[in-house]
């Protein structure tokens, strides 16, 4: 497992290094926006990463709720993965908002505006930060069940974020991908996008795997501590 982790980490760094090279030196710049358009190659993969890890959090939360009274060990594994994926999703969401803000300042002249896409995304980020804070500070046997329920309700905002640029036409550009006949980027930009998408997704899996392993160890340490306390009584 340790060797696999190292191989995966090396592969991830290779993908990211090549992604950076292609984004900076291979693909041509956008005619209208110039150099700033290269933010796309970090901005879009961040949103894809966020979507993947929040979806994983939803699946693990559902699995936890389904198994918590039937198979405690598997339920705890699902809960550890739910926590790891929520943290990873929050990180990607934060990067998406930050890179978007920097792009917005250069392209529109503003850091932030309360348009539909930005507002729903900020709400989504706050929901998952609240989820993580709840996990950190709420104690008791039902904490995990409560967290799983919050995660399911929290995920309801993800499709709203995705559809926001389709439902409401405000400041944010119209959907670039899957947005109809006139949407999409120039084919020459796609290699940079694919390399960075693969690289950042591999990075997310690598870090999420480490976080999951750490949480599992913590769960086992907590269980041993509880058993020792019972034996001492």
């Amino acid at each position: 497992m340790k060797a696999f982790r190292w191989i995966w980490g090396a592969l991830t760094l290779g993908l990211l290094a090549n992604g950076f090279r292609v984004a900076m030196f291979v693909v041509p710049i956008d005619q209208e926006q110039g150099e700033i358009s290269r933010i796309l190659y970090y901005h879009v993969p961040s949103w894809c990463g966020m979507g993947v890890f929040f979806a994983l959090n939803l699946i693990c939360s559902l699995v936890y709720l389904g198994l918590r009274n039937k198979n405690r060990e598997r339920a705890l594994k699902a809960d550890a993965l739910a926590l790891a994926s929520a943290e990873m999703g929050v990180v990607y969401c934060l990067i998406g908002m930050t890179t978007g803000s920097l792009w917005g300042r250069a392209a529109w002249g503003i850091w932030w505006t309360w348009d539909a896409r930005l507002t729903t995304t900020l709400v989504l980020w706050l929901i998952y930060v609240a989820y993580l804070l709840m996990r950190r500070f709420v104690t008791g046997p039902e904490m995990r069940t409560l967290a799983a329920v919050v995660a399911i309700f929290g995920y309801l905002d993800v499709p709203i974020v995705y559809m926001s640029t389709r439902w409401w036409r405000t400041q944010h550009p119209a959907p670039v991908f899957f947005g109809g006949p006139n949407s999409g980027v120039d084919p020459s930009m796609m290699p940079a996008l694919w390399w960075n998408m693969a690289g950042w997704l591999a990075w997310g899996i690598f870090v999420c795997g480490l976080r999951y392993a750490a949480e599992r160890r913590q769960q086992q340490a907590d269980r041993h501590a509880a058993q020792s306390a019972l034996e001492a009584v």
Binding site: F20, Q33, G34, E35, I36, R38, I39, Y42, H43, S46, E87, M88, V91, L94, I95, T98, T99, L102, W103, R105, A106, W203, V207, L210, R211, A213, A214, E215, R217, Q218, Q220, A221, H224, A225, S228
Partner: protein
């Protein structure tokens, strides 16, 4: 506009790496804490 574009592009890439590496450092600390508490039990 051009120098602003360059500055913001560099900043966006740098911020992405800083946030990712900060989170990785947090995960490593969590890992070490878990190993330490597991060792404490045995």
């Amino acid at each position: 506009m051009n120098s602003l574009s360059h500055r913001h592009l560099i900043l966006a890439y740098a911020v992405t790496w800083v946030i990712h590496l900060s989170y990785l450092a947090y995960v490593v600390l969590k890992w070490k804490a878990a190993v330490k508490s597991e060792d404490g039990q045995s």
